[in-house]
């Protein structure tokens, strides 16, 4: 009968030893992690060399496409012009969310928790994340390249944001764009549009575009996507429906995946009209382009004003920028066998700049 039993005495001492080992390991790991956080955060605190407080500014750029890059460039310039230089009296923490909202949420949360003095969101999704995270902490949020801040829910109205959020809004010159398309393609009937359903800016642009298109004798064929992986398929779908060209809005997801759209359009020999000069440089035929650098500069100046305490973000009206300049790409023009319309003779040739 005794043989049935495992040796209790022997195994017991082994058990209690490894019990102890485990408990100690558990406690050590937990303490390690929390002390790491403590030290890292303390290190991140900084004060200016000559006693002036260095302001921490967090910048979240939603996606790495060149239009948004231009915004950031302008922003830093605008701050400089107003007296805030990175590394001297401000420290800019620049993060790119790589086109994913979950990333931008996480970045924004971290910035808010680190009690930055200001959070800047470049593009609508980033602005939304910044607003969401900064809400409870009363950190001012400045946005740029947000086409419809009211639709995104981050300001109550353009004249008076009410929330501690303000910034610059790029209103696409939709009518000028339609005029341009008609000029380049006098026979065209259908315009294809690929847009991301989760970007409020694209949704409102699409409805405005549709309303205006009738005036110029166009029919809009659209395809909505929900993620980066769907852009190529949507572009193909729109092309297969026999559109004469494709038109882009300032849709961050689509512009980020511009090559897929260009690929589908090239396959059918139709042009893609962009929304900004960088897109034209990269293969779009033409665009009524907003100068995103100067948009960024305006934003930087607004930010500086809030930092200096001159105004509160909640009381500063959203600045709308809608001046556009036409730009085209002559090599794309040639490849498609099209002619430059007379009214755009003086327009900038993006291909030449390259």
């Amino acid at each position: 009968m005794k043989r049935f039993f495992d040796n209790p005495a022997g195994s017991k001492s082994n058990k209690s030893n490894s019990n102890k080992r485990r408990s100690i390991a558990a406690v050590i790991i937990t303490v390690l992690i929390f002390s790491l956080i403590f030290t890292m955060v303390s290190c991140n605190q900084q004060s200016g060399g000559n006693g002036t407080k260095v302001l921490n500014i967090g910048v979240i750029q939603f996606a790495p496409h060149p239009s948004l890059d231009n915004c950031y460039e302008g922003f830093v310039q605008g701050l400089k012009e107003a007296g805030f230089v990175d590394g001297e009296n401000i420290k800019i923490d620049f993060q790119n969310a790589q086109g994913e909202m979950s990333n931008s949420d996480m970045i924004a949360k971290n910035m808010a928790a680190s009690k930055y003095d200001m959070i800047v969101g470049i593009a609508t999704p980033a602005a939304m994340s910044a607003y969401s995270a900064a809400k409870d902490n009363d950190i001012p949020v400045i946005f740029t390249a947000v086409s419809d801040p009211v639709a995104a829910g981050i300001v109550k109205s353009l004249e008076r944001p009410e929330y501690n959020v303000t910034g610059t809004s790029d209103v696409l010159p939709l009518e000028a764009q339609l005029k341009m398309i008609r000029a380049f393609l006098p026979e065209a009937r259908k315009i294809g549009v690929v847009y991301t359903t989760s970007e409020p800016n694209s949704v409102s642009h699409l409805s405005q575009f549709r309303e205006l298109a009738g005036k110029y004798g166009f029919e809009i064929v659209e395809a909505g996507v929900t993620s980066a992986s769907e852009v190529a398929a949507a572009a193909m779908t729109v092309v297969s429906k026999g559109v004469d060209c494709i038109n882009n809005f300032t849709d961050n997801n689509v512009v980020n995946n511009l090559s897929s759209v260009l690929h589908a359009a090239d396959g059918a020999g139709i042009p893609v009209f962009g929304s900004e000069v960088e897109q034209v440089k990269n293969g779009c035929l033409a665009s009524e382009s907003i100068d995103y650098v100067s948009l960024g500069v305006e934003t930087g100046k607004m930010a500086a004003s809030v930092l200096k305490g001159e105004t509160k973000a909640s009381e500063m009206a959203v600045k709308l920028i809608s001046d556009s300049t036409p730009v085209y790409n002559s090599s794309v023009l040639e490849r498609l066998g099209l002619a430059l319309p007379a009214e755009y003779e003086g327009a900038e040739d993006a291909a030449a700049a390259k």
């Binding site: 009968m1 043989r3 049935f4 039993f5 495992d6």
Partner: protein
């Protein structure tokens, strides 16, 4: 495998079944328990036709102990938890407490009968028991709630000789005390001869020996071996 198979077991019989590999012993058990299906025919237990019942439905009145000691109990649950679950067979498994405090003493009494000292270890995880202990527990569990038929599927085959002896004695004790109708398949000819009141030897899906009562008592291991050899020669071995 089986054509025109016919077996009748009386209530209270303790039947030992022996046979060579491939004779159909395990298949027969699987058919009774429901893990293997049949093409035609019927299985009747206690005047109930159970042919259409699923395996877990038959389990409410057919107990089974497997060759693998691991199959009859849950290794990461304690002895007490295993017994509580088994005790609840046939009743609802709802949101009432799993282990009923007032039954713990009763379970301890049952464990004492095994004479293995398990009554002092009721909160020990079954996985840390030895094979013999687990099999004894499995036996206890399968007979805790009244059943119509107990199936023993070579339940001592995987145990060492000492545990094997103990478990077999235990089996006999429980079966005789409770008068459970039992069908025991075994490779051990000595057990087949010593225990039970009916002996069946199977060969190729049929019975070559069916001895009960006096006839069985007179059989010894050499007799069984003789028949084994005869069958083997017949088959050309």
């Amino acid at each position: 495998m089986f054509t025109d198979f016919d077996l009748m077991i009386k209530k209270g019989e303790f039947v030992s079944v022996v046979g060579s590999n491939g004779s159909g012993k395990t298949t027969m058990l699987n058919i009774i328990c429901g893990s293997t299906g049949i093409d035609s025919g019927s299985i009747v237990v206690n005047n109930k036709d159970i042919t259409h019942l699923k395996e877990h439905q038959r389990a409410s009145f057919i107990g089974r102990v497997f060759q693998d000691p691991g199959k009859g109990t849950c290794p990461s649950l304690t002895i007490l938890e295993n017994m509580s679950l088994a005790d609840n067979k046939g009743r609802s498994f709802g949101l009432t407490p799993g282990i009923q405090r007032r039954k713990i003493d009763y379970y301890r009494t049952l464990l004492e009968q095994l004479k293995l000292g398990l009554e002092d270890k009721t909160n020990l995880r079954v996985g840390s028991l030895s094979g013999g202990q687990r099999q004894a527990l499995a036996l206890l569990i399968s007979t805790m709630v009244p059943i119509d038929l107990l199936i023993l599927d070579e339940h001592t085959a995987a145990l060492d000789p000492r545990s094997s002896e103990t478990v077999m004695e235990l089996t006999n004790r429980i079966i005789t005390e409770k008068g459970i109708t039992t069908l025991m398949v075994t490779h051990n000819l000595r057990y087949a001869v010593e225990y039970g009141n009916r002996l069946l030897m199977m060969h190729q899906g049929g019975f070559v020996i069916d001895a009960a009562g006096e006839e069985k008592a007179s059989l010894g291991v050499p007799d069984l071996l003789k028949v084994f050899n005869e069958i083997s020669i017949e088959c050309g071995n």
